[in-house]
Every structure is written in structure tokens, then in C-alpha cells.
Amino acid sequence: MSEPSPQSIRAEALEALLIEKGFLKAEDVDQVILRYGERVGPLNGAQVIARAWVDDQFREDLLNDASAAIAVYQFEGGQVEKLVVVENTATVHNVVVCTLCSCYPWALLGLPPKWYKDPEYRSRVVKEPRKVISEMGFDVAAGKSVKVWDSSAEIRYLVLPQPPENLQSYNENDLTGLVSRDGMIGVAER
């Protein structure tokens, strides 16, 4: 068995102090971790995107006031109180970043992946978004402009990818399966 890391011991010491001082119980922390591990994730966002593809009124509502439009789902996880959905079109591709830290719409996408929090992505995607997206495996068509959306203290962004060409041949559940977390951040097609 390897020795615990210094940070692991710090975290352990901190939790023990918080419990002893009555600020929380270990079971409360377990419940929060379980919630984010099991019930908060990109499947939630994928459902919203699929609905927007098949329901024009919902799509319009989502683009006008996304927080209000998704309230009906009652997703857990938070960080969507001021959600803005930006739509990919034939001429514009959108991509999301948080240049200052790691702000992210947890209720729709779960917790951010490691690369989203790394300094390299946070700084480079602003300066050369097309190149960064390409390095991540998706080439934005040459005729499209790329718009970068930087999360602020309050606003969280979600990309509405373009639907597949043969949209009518899918049902809503199948469409949900076509949507990836990366597509909703804007580093994949959908």
C-alpha cells in the first residue's frame, strides 16, 4: 500500500475538523458525491438538445430564456440559474470556456472534464479556437466563423449543436444518444 499523498492527508484532516465542529456529517458528503456521480451528467443536457431539435417552440424558448425553459425538467446539480444557450448554424460554430476558473452548467453536463479546467484549454481556445477544436478531433468547416463564449460569475453557456441531416428518421430517444458532452461544450460536432 503506497503512502497517502500530502493533499490527501490535508483533505482528510479538513473533513475530520469540519465533522468535529459540527459543520457537516460524513453521510451528507457521501450523498452529494453520489448525486453528482449518478444523477447529474451530460445525459440531462442531451435530453434538452434532442427536445430542441424536435420541438420548435421549445427550441425558441431555450434560446430566449434557457433557465426558464429547462426548469420543467427539475434537474439536480445547479449552476444553471442564468443559462444561455447558443445555437450552431450553417455559418457559426460556438465553443464555451471559463478563462478564470472552471464555471460550467453542472445540472446539464455534470462536472467538467479535466481538460476544461486546464490552463492550456482556458487560454488557447480564446486565441485560436479553430485550432484547439481541431486538435480535439473536430474540424469546423472553413466557411463557418467560430464564436467563443467565456463564462462569467453568473452566466453559464451551453451549445445547441446542429441536428443530423436526416432528423426525421430518428425518434427523440435516438437523438439523445447522438449528443455528446463535448458537442454541448462546442469541441465536437454534436
Binding site: M1, I9, L14, V72, S102
Partner: protein
């Protein structure tokens, strides 16, 4: 109205979501601590975010920069906000850390 978009139907998992969010169990635990305390209204997430940005800026400016580990800054931000709220002082943490570091090897196995 609330039943308009029911959640209970079976859905395929979205693609490409298999990356690890946490490299180490302590990172998951620290995330859990920070969220639990926020949900118990010990501080707002905005307050925590401010400390996280400050901790990351310190790393950005550090001439003797350590390798990047997001959760190092996340833990630092949590300690800062707990200190500001007079919930856990630096001395308390240092004393407890010292006790833990003095434990015999394999104490919990």
C-alpha cells in the same frame, strides 16, 4: 406542465463521456465537502468561486510554479473561504495535520 417532458423513458448514454473527472479519491472528497457546505449555506458558490479564481491567479503568477493540479487550487479555495468565515483556522488545520503525519505507518489498514 411539469409532466410535459418526462424523464423516465430509457435513453442511450451520450457519447464520449468516459473521461475521469477526479484523478484521486481525495479530490472527489474535497469537491463533496465544498458543495455540501455551500448547500448548507455556510457560504455562497460565488464566494467560493472568487477564492478559486484567486488561488489560480496565485499559481499563474508564481515564478516557482508547481505542476498544474486543478484540485490543489480547489482545496486551497476551500481553506481560504473557511478561514474567512472563521470556520476552520490555519492553526487548527496545521495542528491536525501534524497529528496525522505522526501516525504510525499503516494506521488505518
Amino acid at each position: 406542465m411539469t409532466d410535459q417532458y418526462p424523464l423516465e423513458h430509457e435513453l442511450a448514454p451520450p457519447q464520449a463521456n468516459g473521461e475521469l473527472v477526479f484523478d484521486d479519491p481525495w479530490q472527489m472528497r474535497v469537491f463533496g465537502l465544498a458543495r455540501t457546505l455551500c448547500e448548507q449555506e455556510c457560504y455562497s458558490w460565488g464566494e467560493f468561486r472568487g477564492e478559486l479564481i484567486a488561488a489560480i491567479k496565485c499559481w499563474d503568477r508564481d515564478l516557482d510554479q508547481q505542476p498544474w493540479c486543478y484540485f490543489d487550487h480547489f482545496l486551497e479555495a476551500l481553506l481560504r473561504v473557511l478561514n474567512k468565515k472563521h470556520m476552520i483556522s490555519q492553526d487548527e488545520l496545521t495542528n491536525r495535520l501534524q497529528q496525522y503525519l505522526n501516525r504510525p505507518h499503516g494506521h488505518d489498514h
